[in-house]
Point group: C2
Chain length 413, copies 2
């Protein structure tokens, strides 16, 4: 992302932009001895955009948020819990979303339909609504606009994540400094087909609801939707983007230079968060990046990149630092995209170097030792050139390890 | 398969049918101290049918066999090696297929184009053709029509398989006893999109080439194509079916009762082999069967069953004997098939009993203890009733375990 000179990374997350506050609480929804609820609040009403799971089985909070984002003009708060997903919970589960929003709305003095909710955790259990409401009551008085408050919120939404995930950037738009900050969480059931498990991005940009949704919808295609940890598209995938206009830039209402700048800032935040999810996939020891270049179309490049990054055999080989390139070519082959295997060049790259592994579909006779050195880094990239055109795509995943099995064989206990 | 009364299982494999011989050899293709080449030979020319991988990256033997099956009237021998897949090996690799066939043809005194070849193992390496030819020379003199010879062949084609896989059946057709026998091998890179890794079926039935191909093509859809170990469709998937007519039944040349009987026998063999591949998936401790019932169409049922059986999270839960049904509903939800999650009933079944887990999309409040007991068996079934019609489909897979990672993180060493 070095080429995006206009966008400057700063410290912070969801509270980096003006007028946003956050809080966390240990509400004992399912976990003990840690925070498990988070709240984001804007001092003034925001326009909101959202992208949601394409899974036919949608969690109750997804349905609630779709209604808020699609049918109401403004949003002002987000309430999130970890531990229980509130998915496959029927009308009772949807009722708890409403009760959560009502409780927050009443204390904050805002409309119920301006409160977004999100949940992550076990599917099929009902959330303990009394504890959720109690958590909301605990959080409202401690809402703060400090960076620490944002970090506490980022920690509270973690499930099997091993690190909190947040990032913030600034960009100059119309003579004003606009800030975009976000947080997200992984790290299992990650194969977003619309957006990642849970991502929350806030900005003080002045932008219309239509342009905000357009910016988000376009950007998730290249960011969250290019991440796969395990091929399982969750019932809860949600990215919410709130804009409160406090940067006082001229309102963005059309596709102009200001919009492009805003999109670059948003893309930086989403790309960083998406990669952090992939690198912190359940049990992962390495971030695995797959670049397809020389493609005939973007769609073809996306299909190929996603197929490789999702291949269990390839992921296991990455864990073993094994340059088993046949599995990569094989995964490209069953992706559904057409190409000529006998024209493919493949490279492995990491901070330890770059090595051409196959040329025109057959081994270059590369050094296995050098390949293993390259593949033993924390972030490794496979680059396949299919020599059909100029389109390209990048997907992010991780290796498949013993710990993935350990985490998921007994997740509910 | 208890309902198929006409079909009787007997002992044996590829040598069970009249006029078929087999042999194995330790040719040191890649493994040491074990057999790694197998041969099937029919005393008289056979009509041959085949189904092959849909992977764009096709191994050289797949291309060779497609030419034989599609463009030549007869086949009489199959030469198979394990250890090296002869995939991604360019023209050199294809040349080795021809040399293998030529060597066998010369010794056996049959046309080169009646020799089928198959390989399984590491992708990207060239096969040592001198050792292959030497293996052929070792096998021809010891070809035998005993059941033991068939078993030795089944053992020689194993890679990471833990057990050899063979089965044979008999069925009465036109007053004659027709025998169908087969062997196959798994057990990684198994998500056949045409047929399984390698399967060889022989029969003494008299049947035309057209009807033989029709029988095979239809049957693989319900058998090998419903197996997934890891979602990776191999470059080498091949099922070959040879019929030499020695049973002397009236030749089957059209869709009549005789054809139906033959199809039942073939289906028994293929189903048994397909399930044995799933149950012996790399690292597997359990055969995982997924039945979708009450579907609107066969296609919908297939899509849903395959999505569940392929889900890493579901497979890890099966390994943990954990009734984490939310993952099953989630995998159905992202399959691409439409259904109403709030109408789904789900059961777990094994020899320890049957339990209704969810009814109309929500938990029945079942006993976790009882569910764990059912899920702790060597073969477990999940049955989802989506209440839209009468179509159904069954898919077979296995659990996802530490050993899968162990086997695949360092497969090439």
């Amino acid at each position: 992302m070095a080429e995006v000179k206009e966008v400057k990374e700063i410290t912070g997350g969801v509270t980096a932009a003006k007028g946003f506050r956050a809080a966390a609480a240990a509400a004992e929804i399912k976990y003990k001895g840690r925070t498990d609820m988070a709240m984001i609040y804007s001092e003034t009403p925001c326009v909101a955009a959202g992208t949601f799971t394409t899974n036919v089985v949608k969690a109750a909070p997804v349905k609630w948020d779709q209604n808020v984002v699609y049918h109401h003009p403004a949003a002002q708060a987000v309430i999130c819990n970890s531990g229980i997903a509130n998915a496959c919970t029927g009308e009772e589960g949807y009722g708890y979303c409403r009760q959560t929003a009502e409780a927050a709305a009443e204390i904050l003095g805002i409309p119920t339909e301006s409160v977004l909710v999100a949940s992550t955790g076990v599917i099929g259990m009902q959330i303990p609504i009394d504890r959720i409401v109690n958590g909301v009551k605990m959080m409202v008085p401690v809402l703060a606009d400090t960076l620490e408050a944002g970090t506490e919120a980022a920690k509270a939404i973690m499930t099997t994540d091993t690190v909190k995930k947040e990032v913030a950037v600034q960009v100059e738009i119309g003579g004003k400094t606009v800030t975009v900050g976000g947080m997200c969480k992984g790290s299992g059931m990650i194969h977003p087909n619309m957006c990642t498990m849970l991502g929350f991005v806030t900005t003080d940009a002045a932008i219309s609801k239509e342009m905000l949704q357009l910016a988000l919808s376009e950007d998730v295609k290249d960011t969250y939707n290019m991440v796969s940890v395990d091929g399982d598209t969750s019932t809860n995938d949600t990215v919410l983007l709130l804009a409160n206009g406090k940067a006082e830039n001229p309102e963005i209402t059309e596709k102009n230079q200001d919009f492009e700048l805003f999109c670059k800032a948003l893309s930086y935040v989403n790309t960083t968060l998406a990669k952090s999810i992939a690198g912190d996939g359940e049990g992962a020891t390495a971030l695995f990046e797959v670049k397809i270049v020389g493609a005939k179309s973007k769609e073809q490049a996306v299909t190929l990149a996603k197929s490789v990054v999702t291949s269990s055999l390839t992921k296991a080989a990455i864990y073993g630092h094994d340059a088993n390139w046949g599995r990569i070519l094989c995964a490209m082959g069953y992706s559904g995209a057409q190409f000529d295997p006998e024209k493919v060049d493949l490279y492995f790259e990491s901070k330890a170097g770059k090595l051409k592994i196959i040329e025109n579909g057959v081994s270059t006779g590369y050094s296995e030792e050098e390949a293993t050195k390259i593949l033993s880094q924390e972030a490794v990239t496979a680059i396949a050139d299919i020599k059909m055109g100029t389109a390209q795509a990048t997907a992010w995943g991780c290796d498949l390890t013993y710990d993935y099995i350990k985490i998921n064989a007994d997740y509910r206990s």
